[in-house]
Structures are given as structure tokens and as C-alpha cells.
Amino acid sequence: MNSSAHVVVIDSGGANLASVGYAFDRLGVETIVTEEAALIRSADRVVLPGVGNASTIMARLTQLGLIPVIGSLRCPVLGICLGMQLLFDGSAEGDTPGLGLISGQITAMRPGHGLSVPHMGWNTLEALVDDPLLHGLDQNDWFYFVHGYAAPLSHANTVASTRYGDDFSSVVRQRNFWGVQFHPERSGRSGSRLLSNFLSLPSCD
């Protein structure tokens, strides 16, 4: 990707917008944080962050008229944490319809066996599928997770899974839409490698 390419972070109203911007700064890449449809449409890379509550953020995206805008993007799109969950058909969190860009339903985690919810802390990836987003990363890389809902495993879109009681999808992809359940912006060198891979993805499908 050339240095004049636009990386746009959608202002989803969550609280981790600054962290995501700083992580790209550390890679020497400037980002634009915006809710403007025109800027999002003209981007070379789009990040959909999300922290908080699924229905609150979907309501905001709806109100801003961004649902069809995100759906029409042809450039690489990366959903982070709740941003990843919103790419799916829907979420059990508040029975919220999603963007429908990745097939499946987000469900509440019920790990049992004395495991705490939310799943909070550093965990690893398993069953990695060959995907450019994960170049140079393997089972020995650690990522920071914080979530109480999760995506099921799917032959169609799971790129890597993570174990917490049961296995869930921690990296997903359908067409040009990628999602990561963890926070690459707070996952040390491994997270920074993933973001750098995202910047290196071919620009169009």
C-alpha cells in the first residue's frame, strides 16, 4: 500500500478509537477517524472498531446511514472486537441484527468449568487457516481479548479459533471483510504484525 493511501477508522462511538489510531501511528500510518460516508467510501482500508454494546453501536451506524455504505465497500475491511461481531448476521446481545456481511450468529459465552465471563486477557490462536492477515503469525502469538459474546466456528469463514472452555472463531473472513475478536491495538508485537499485514493486503478484491 502506498503511503498516501487512506486508512479510515469508522467512528462507531466506542471508547477505543484513540487506541486504534495510536496503533497505526506506531506503524507510521496516519488514520482518519470519521463517520462521513464519502470519506469511508473513498478509503483504501476501513477499520470498524467497537467497544460497548452491540445494539448501541448498530443504532448509531443506522442513524448515520452507514449500514449500506459499509456493505458496499470493496476495499479490505477489518472489524475489531465488537466491530467484528457486527459484521455477522446478528448477535444475541440485545437480539441485535448485524450487518450481514459474514454468515452466522454471535452467541453469549457460557464456558462453565469455573471460567470467568467476560473472557479477559491474553490467549492464543489455533487451527490457523492460510490467510494473508495472519502472515508470520502462529500458535505462539498472544493476543489480548475482552468479550462476553463470541462467534461460532464455521467452515465457511473461520480463519483461526481460540479455546476458552469451548472453541470460538477469533479471526474470520468473508470476501473483503475480516474480523478479529481480540484487540490487535493492545496485543504487543503480535497485534502490530497483524495490523501491518492488514495494511499490506491487496487493495481490491
Binding site: A15, S116, V117, P118, M120, V146, G188
Partner: protein, 255 residues
């Protein structure tokens, strides 16, 4: 598998890391960024910054240091101290902190926990509980930052632990005051007892003096994370050394 977390806690006043008796005799230990990155490089999984900047007239303290840290640090961090409202929390989170931790203000106004969880999500709302061992059992103490104001909050620790979870706390730091600062080990009995009533991540605090204490608290009290201050600041235990010993004891940690 999810790793057990090691969390150093740094006291911050006016943007500098300090140590000393809380609210008295503070010595500047060093620059906040230098210390934060040093702990990160040594393997800290997360950092807690306890802002003890005095704000006697209730004015907002300068928190410019949070954005400075957020720019550089690539691991999560939490800010504690002086967060009394949704607005305070918003400023801290927007500056780049992952989590905010509240203690005395939650005791004054328990609905604050719900307000914060609704606005920002439970995952960033940490509730700190200072628990004392008394003849009446485990009791929550309030205003522990200031010895002249410290008092019984009128609550049993178990009741408060359950209430804060019901109100939306996403993580609980249980600071066992009898063991705090003594470096004779975490209060395993108390942590074990309360763990069974805690369904959100539980962080042990107070008493760490050696690697063995961390092994014990993870093995026996099944906590998700262990927080410590003086044992790391004094240099008597390095996080990299601690993690080697935890791995040797078959406790999963991030390298």
C-alpha cells in the same frame, strides 16, 4: 489457553510515578513512560495506574499523561483513582485507557457502576474492593487512600462483591488489606472463599512478596490475575523471572 495475568500497579501524582505512604511523603520514582515501557518489556500483561493526584476542591485533575502512555504502550492499561462520574470515565477512556477502576465513588453511589457499564460496556468497568478481616468477618473499607478518612463502608465484602457484579462490573480487584504491604503472601483463604461467588475475572491484590506467592494464589485461589506494586518497584522480583517460575509450576503465562 487463557494466560494468567501479572499486573504491576504504579502510583501516579501530577503525571509522575511516585512511591511513599499514600498521600504523604511521596518521592518521585521516575518518568511514567520509562517505567511503563520497562514493565511492558519485562513481560507485564497489563498495567494499572493509580492516580493519587490530590483534588481537594473537586476540580478535574490534569490527565494529559494518559494519552502520552496510550500512544506508546501496546498492552492494555487501566486507570484508577479520582473517577467519580461518567464524564470522568469518558475522558480517561477517550484518552486511550482500556479500563477504568472505581472504588470509593462506587460505595458512595453504587448506581455509578450501572451507568458506566451501560455507557461503555462492562468489559471496561473494574471495581476495586478494599477488604479488611475483622471479628465480623470480611468488611469493605472506604477512603483507604487517606488514613485519616478510612472507615468501614457498612458493607460485608461478600454482599458487595455480589452487588457490584449484578450492577455490571466486568472485573473485580480484591485488595486484602490485612496482607497489603506486608509482602507475606496473598490472603489465600479470603480469595478462595470469595472466588466461588465471583463469576467475572477476579484480580488478587495485596501481599505479594515472592514468586511462590504468585504460584500459590493462582493454584489455590484460582484468580485470573495478580496485581502487585512494591515487590516489582523495589526490584526484588522481576516479572520475567516471575513468569519463568510460574511456567515451571505449570501455570499458563504469556512469555
Amino acid at each position: 489457553m487463557l494466560a494468567r495475568r501479572i499486573i504491576p500497579c504504579l502510583d501516579v501524582r501530577d503525571g509522575q510515578v511516585v512511591k511513599g505512604v499514600r498521600f504523604r511523603d511521596h518521592k518521585i520514582v521516575g518518568d511514567i513512560l520509562d517505567l511503563a515501557t520497562r514493565y511492558r518489556d519485562d513481560g507485564a500483561d497489563e498495567l494499572v495506574f493509580y492516580d493519587i493526584t490530590a483534588s481537594p476542591d473537586g476540580r478535574t485533575v490534569d490527565r494529559g499523561w494518559i494519552a502520552r502512555i496510550a500512544r506508546v504502550l501496546d498492552i492494555p492499561f487501566c486507570v484508577a483513582g479520582g473517577i467519580r462520574s461518567v464524564r470522568d470515565a469518558e475522558a480517561v477512556l477517550n484518552a486511550g485507557a482500556e479500563k477504568i477502576s472505581i472504588n470509593s465513588p462506587a460505595l458512595d453511589n453504587p448506581a455509578l457502576i450501572e451507568d458506566l457499564a451501560r455507557r461503555f460496556g462492562s468489559q471496561c468497568v473494574v471495581v476495586g474492593i478494599d477488604s479488611d478481616t475483622t471479628s465480623d468477618g470480611y468488611r469493605v473499607r472506604q477512603y483507604t487512600g487517606d488514613p485519616s478518612r478510612t472507615r468501614d463502608s457498612g458493607r460485608a465484602t461478600l454482599d458487595w462483591l455480589i452487588e457490584v457484579q449484578d450492577r455490571g462490573a466486568g472485573e473485580i480487584v480484591l485488595n486484602c488489606m490485612t496482607s497489603d504491604g506486608v509482602r507475606a503472601g496473598y490472603d489465600l483463604l479470603q480469595l478462595k472463599t470469595l472466588r466461588t461467588s465471583c463469576r467475572v475475572p477476579l484480580v488478587a491484590s495485596g501481599g505479594a512478596g515472592s514468586a511462590r506467592d504468585f504460584v500459590d494464589v493462582f493454584e489455590q485461589a484460582l484468580v485470573d490475575a495478580a496485581l502487585a506494586a512494591s515487590v516489582f518497584h523495589s526490584g526484588s522480583l522481576r516479572i520475567s523471572t516471575l513468569k519463568r517460575e510460574l511456567r515451571a509450576a505449570a501455570i499458563e503465562v504469556r512469555p
